[in-house]
């Protein structure tokens, strides 16, 4: 690696990450793995697709995350009649000033929650995914660069398939991680219900307790630090080995492309920083492999009929792909 991280920088970065994690934990009870993965995506400068049934705190997580770094937060509820201009923005003719004015859409923000992204038709999805990829919006021929940090957290619901437009594989590939939120364990759920229901009117999500810790610019610094986290050749080979194994693995219809390997290494770096290290280990890779690859691997129909998902395949694969030994 060309850039090395000083002790001091590492310490501060680790502390900042730990503090953000702790602050999010004040609003989001439990789900530590999900929080870690979302933080990792933020530090790696990627976007996240969150899948989970309604009512598991997806929105709360995003709002809490936005609050920790004082970033702007916007939310789009995707519906079948949502148009690309509703996402990116549009120009209007102002009769008083006799000029065209540009109205910026909700994408001009730091954190964008695209709720139920699979409810909007393909053209709207494509508009957002283009913004995610390019980091800029073109309205009436004029390009507007989005102010970094920019992160999209899209959610989708795994149970309702009627009236939805499934994201194509190529577009799924744009997401760094696909995070699955599952029902919390009993103890966490008790704590959560207590926290929300106690001395509070209504069930409004309360992120007041989350203290803003850093500025959006600091997030950019953190992202630069993550980019400098050392990846040993062995670890890199391990990641590539995993990604390559998905292409030939029994039960996989189509495996992950090289972008999967890149995503895996990027997220493993961020995970290493969150763990307080300035170097990645095979453990980081293995820990992030499910989230980084599950949306890039398509199981064969037979495997799906048997009730297995790409997660099952990847878990089996991770057990068999030899970890590096020095």
């Amino acid at each position: 690696m060309t850039m090395t991280i000083s002790e001091e920088t590492l310490k501060r970065a680790t502390e900042a990450a730990a503090a953000m994690r702790a602050q999010i934990g004040r609003a989001v009870v439990g789900q530590t793995e999900v929080v870690d993965q979302v933080l990792a995506a933020l530090f790696a400068g990627g976007h996240v697709l969150i899948e989970g049934v309604p009512g598991l705190g997806k929105t709360l997580l995003v709002r809490a995350l936005a609050r920790t770094f004082g970033g702007r937060f916007a939310r789009i509820q995707f519906t079948p009649d949502l148009m690309p201009a509703d996402v990116t923005g549009h120009t209007l003719y102002d009769q008083r000033s006799a000029q065209f004015t540009t109205r910026r859409g909700p994408v001009f923000t730091n954190l964008l929650l695209a709720d139920e992204i699979n409810r909007a038709p393909a053209k709207t999805q494509a508009a957002l995914l283009e913004v995610m990829q390019e980091g800029q919006v073109t309205i009436e021929g004029t390009s507007h660069t989005l102010e970094p940090p920019f992160m999209v957290l899209a959610t989708q619901n795994p149970i309702e398939q009627e009236g939805t437009y499934a994201l194509p594989e190529a577009q799924l590939d744009r997401f760094l991680l696909k995070v699955k939120i599952d029902y919390p364990p009993e103890s966490e759920e008790i704590a959560m219900v207590k926290q929300v229901a106690d001395s509070q009117v209504g069930e409004k999500l309360n992120v007041e307790s989350v203290a803003p810790l850093i500025q959006p610019e600091a997030v950019l610094t953190l992202q630069r630090v993550v980019a400098a986290v050392r990846v040993d050749a062995q670890v890199l080979e391990y990641a590539v080995r995993i990604v390559r194994a998905t292409r030939t693995w029994n039960g996989v219809a189509s495996g992950a492309g090289p972008r999967g390997g890149i995503a895996l290494i990027r997220s493993a770096r961020a995970a290493a920083l969150i763990a307080g290290r300035d170097f990645t280990t095979p453990d980081d890779v293995k820990r992030m492999a499910l989230a980084a690859l599950r949306h890039r691997v398509t199981p064969t129909p037979e495997i799906e009929i048997e009730g297995h998902s790409s997660d099952t395949l990847l878990k089996g694969l991770l057990e068999k792909v030899p970890a590096p030994r020095v």
């Binding site: 057990e319 792909v321 030994r325």
Partner: protein, 490 residues
């Protein structure tokens, strides 16, 4: 009734076929039937329309009086069937004959009888009343009532279809009729409101529809009734016998004389008294008949429907003897098949035993050699022979010599070897350092902290090229023994 005078072919029919016969009858005698119908129905209808300013009420009354007109139709068609076709005048003159029997019931309790046209002949032609009528209806309706009910359903639907069809036709052809205006809405918007608004036109449509359908309905019900009686009373057999009798009567008197002579001779030879019949009075014959009828054979009547085999019996399908050559060939095949089957059974049993022995763990475990840990794992040589006797001591020497990497590698390898060989921790090829630490934490919690420190130092050196300080490596060497040396007790 006299079956020999019936103008239709009587034979046992299924209900639906009987309905067809009824429709055919209505078409055959359409003149007298519709003449009587219109002669009665049209005046009454006109009267009703005149009497009730609300046309719907008039239609309701006409509907209610349907059984009255039905009777006239039935009278006409029954006379026609039994070979006495009557004109309108004769029918109207005979009103005392066809109207009174059971008319009160027909217009009150029985008005909503669903098999109305089927049971009408019982009241009108047989003149049965009260419980006798009920019994008769039950006997006749035991298998055919459902057909009568369906007839009612179909005919009432047909009436409505005709009514609406006529309405729609006129609506289409009427030049003045355009889009339904607000006047077409019922005053209160309800279902009945629409009916209350019926005008003369709609009433005429109703009268036309009923006039078209009702005579068919009555004749079909009557045909169903006739068919049921023909089945129950064996009219077709009776007719056949009568025809036979007529043919005999028509043949030459000589045959009759011969027959009489033969019968007389038969009586004479049997030794009975020739005056046999003369001795018996009518009374004794009556007693005899009653006795016979009281016997169990006649006391019950039960109709049973069941399937029975009408194909060839077994005797008929008995195989013919084969020629010797074919017999030998078939025997050869049979023997061959038997041998083949036995071989298959033996093979199946052998396969079953093989799999049973393969998947039954216990006997194998008993005979199995003791767990033999792998000598190499993760590319490391983990065999105890490949390691120095004193791992910690050797590592410390290496550390002191500045060869920290070798020292740490030896410690790590020694620890893994100990875990695999002595503690039998199963490691997969995909297990990372983190997984190993987790396994140690589960199995050897006392050594977990040390092991994770060792792994952490090792990782920092391996993946971050970070050279650990010699002191910490030496400390790791010192602490190694209690956890992983062969002498250590855990």
């Amino acid at each position: 009734m006299q079956p020999d005078r019936v103008a239709v072919v009587l034979r046992p029919r299924v209900g639906w076929e009987a309905l067809d016969l009824g429709f055919q009858m209505a078409r055959e005698w359409w003149r007298p039937i519709w003449a009587v119908w219109f002669a009665l129905y049209l005046p009454v209808a006109t009267l009703c329309l005149y009497a009730f300013p609300n046309r719907f009420h008039a239609i309701l009354v006409l509907w209610w009086l349907k059984p009255v007109f039905d009777r006239a139709v039935l009278h006409t068609v029954s006379r026609a069937v039994f070979g006495e076709p009557q004109g309108v005048r004769a029918t109207l003159r005979a009103v005392r004959e066809w109207l009174p029997p059971g008319i009160v019931m027909a217009l009150t309790f029985s008005r909503l009888n669903l098999a109305r046209s089927f049971v009408l002949p019982v009241a009108q032609l047989e003149r049965q009343r009260g419980s006798a009528a009920r019994k008769r209806n039950a006997a006749l309706g035991s298998r055919m009532r459902n057909v009568g009910v369906w007839l009612t359903v179909v005919c009432s639907n047909l009436e409505w279809v005709t009514l609406f069809g006529l309405g729609a036709l006129v609506q289409m052809l009427e030049p003045a009729a355009g889009d339904p205006g607000p006047d077409d809405e019922s005053p209160d918007g309800s279902f009945w409101g629409h009916f209350a608004q019926w005008g003369l036109k709609e009433a005429c449509f109703y009268i036309a529809a009923v006039s078209l359908v009702e005579p068919f309905y009555v004749t079909a019900g009557f045909a169903l009734y006739l068919n049921r009686r023909a089945i129950l009373e064996g009219w077709d057999i009776e007719l056949a016998l009568r025809r036979l009798e007529e043919r005999l009567r028509a043949s030459s008197g000589r045959i009759a004389a011969v027959l009489v002579l033969a019968v007389a001779a038969g009586f004479a030879m049997s030794g009975t008294q020739p005056a046999f019949a003369l001795d018996d009075t009518a009374k004794s014959a009556h007693d005899e008949i009653r006795k016979v009828l009281a016997s169990p054979e006649f006391s019950q009547h039960k109709e049973v429907t069941r399937w029975y085999y009408t194909g060839k019996s077994k005797e008929e399908t008995k195989p013919t003897e084969l020629p010797a050559f074919w017999r030998a060939l078939s025997l050869l095949f049979a023997k061959g098949a038997e041998v083949f089957l036995w071989i298959a059974v033996v093979l199946l049993v052998a396969i079953a035993l093989y799999y049973l022995s393969k998947f039954r763990p216990e006997p194998r475990l008993r005979n199995a050699p003791a767990y033999r840990p792998p000598d190499a794992l993760f590319g490391f040589d983990l065999a105890p022979e490949s390691l120095p006797d004193d791992v910690a001591g050797t590592a410390k020497q290496l550390a002191r010599a500045g060869r920290l990497r070798e020292a740490l590698s030896l410690l790590y390898r020694g620890a893994l070897s100990s875990l695999v060989q002595r503690h039998h921790l199963p490691f997969d090829p995909g297990d990372t350092e983190g997984d190993c630490t987790l396994a140690v934490r589960m199995k050897l919690p006392a050594s977990a902290d040390y092991f994770s420190r060792l792994v952490g130092t090792w990782q920092a050196m391996a993946y971050a090229a970070r050279r650990p300080d010699a002191d910490s490596v030496e400390r790791l060497c010192d602490e190694w023994r209690p956890h992983f040396s062969p002498a250590a007790t855990t």
